[in-house]
């Protein structure tokens, strides 16, 4: 009953509640701050990696548990190596220049960092720029190395639960090393 009532509330209140929580946690984790984000790229401040890796480990275990046991759907994006790599590199360049990413930029604005509005304006313009070139990109870059939907378990031919356990141990190890080096 409880589950049903949550599922039935309007399509707006769920993303609003979850967005409030996400913005809250981004700010509390410190990743809405310019010097923290740029500090990570300069390898001076590892807050971003700590937040991301902790979220990935906890999120992965729960999401795969829900997927395997409850039947919750995964939402996989196709692997297109050319587009993933080229787009990823361009994103990285922009990230370093701007100091905020699309989600943390919104969080930065929330805590009062007014220049984040300029980044957000750029994000709107760049999105339209992509749409403008989408016909060309679809027929070129986005066809390079198009492998379809691929996950680590499917590529390795391993059971999802085994892969999740192995990745959880690996990423926790990385977190432990980062933590130890800094203290």
């Amino acid at each position: 009953m409880r589950t049903l009532s949550v599922k039935n509330v309007s399509k707006v209140s769920q993303p609003v509640l979850f967005g409030l929580m996400f913005g809250f946690l981004l700010q509390k984790g410190g990743v809405a701050k310019y010097h923290v984000l740029e500090g990570q790229l300069l390898l001076r401040d590892y807050t971003v990696l700590k937040v991301m890796l902790s979220a990935i480990v906890v999120g992965m275990i729960g999401v795969y548990f829900l997927h395997e046991r409850v039947g919750t759907k995964l939402h996989l994006k196709p692997t297109r190596l050319g587009a993933n790599m080229l787009g990823g590199l361009i994103f990285g360049v922009g990230f370093a220049l701007a100091g905020y990413c699309p989600g943390t930029g919104a969080a930065a604005l929330g805590q009062g960092d007014l220049p984040a509005i300029i980044v957000m304006l750029g994000l709107v313009v760049g999105s339209y720029g992509y749409a403008e070139l989408s016909l060309f990109l679809k027929n070129t870059v986005e066809t390079w190395g198009d492998l379809g939907k691929k996950t680590l378990p499917s590529v390795l031919g391993m059971k999802a639960s085994t892969t999740v356990a192995a990745v959880a141990v690996l990423l926790s190890g990385v977190l432990f090393i980062i933590h130890s080096i800094q203290h």
Binding site: L20, M21, G30, A55, T72, G88, F91, P102, A107, Y130
Partner: protein
């Protein structure tokens, strides 16, 4: 709406109890605060739990960048409706007030609440880190980099299929190959570029 109030109360209680033990010092003696007011492991772990909720209840992964594409699509539709409608991206993803739209708007408010709760809510202009490097009269340079950075990020995110949220968090935790490739490239591009600025 009653169960909703219960859930909200639960979330507020959870956050406030976590904040009691997750506090970290905000100042390290330098001119700006070191990081967040909560431990990054606690904040990250809770973001991980939040992804369970969005997958289970909304059947939707966390993502942010498509918010900006939606806004751009709305503006395009208002200014040049015919042209915008012809673009393959908007034909496949017509601008609608979908999940990410409300999600990203709420991020702004959620962050404001978090900042207010630890006394960090304050209007700020140029970041101190930037001023230390380039001085207080470098606003135009900062604004230009911010704008160009935003343009490149949105373009890159659409080409790669997501941003630090959609790929970097939701995709990686699903062990999606494209997301791990993309997020490694995010950092590679960033690590090189930052050396040109600082």
């Amino acid at each position: 709406m009653k169960p909703y109030i219960k859930h909200t109360a639960f979330v507020v209680t959870l956050f406030s109890s976590v904040s009691l033990f997750a506090q970290t010092p905000l100042q390290d003696g330098s001119t700006y605060s070191i990081g967040g007011s909560w431990s990054p492991y606690v904040a990250g772990g809770l973001i991980g739990i939040l992804t369970w909720l969005t997958f289970y209840f909304s059947e939707h992964p966390i993502g942010a960048s498509s918010f900006y594409a939606t806004v751009a699509g709305f503006i395009g539709k208002a200014v040049a409706p015919r042209h915008t409608h012809k673009l393959p991206y908007y034909r496949e993803n017509p601008p609608r007030l979908k999940w990410e739209f409300w999600f990203v708007l709420a991020i702004i408010l959620g962050s404001a609440l978090a900042a207010a709760s630890s006394g960090e809510l304050a209007l700020q202009g140029l970041p101190l880190m930037w001023i230390e490097q380039y001085g207080p009269d470098s606003g135009l340079g900062y604004a230009s980099l911010s704008f160009v950075g935003g343009v490149l990020m949105a373009f890159g995110a659409r080409l790669a299929g997501g941003c630090t949220s959609g790929h970097g968090l939701s995709g990686t935790l699903q062990l999606n190959i494209s997301s791990w490739v993309a997020v490694i490239c995010f950092f590679l591009g960033g690590l090189v570029t930052i050396r040109l600025i600082y």
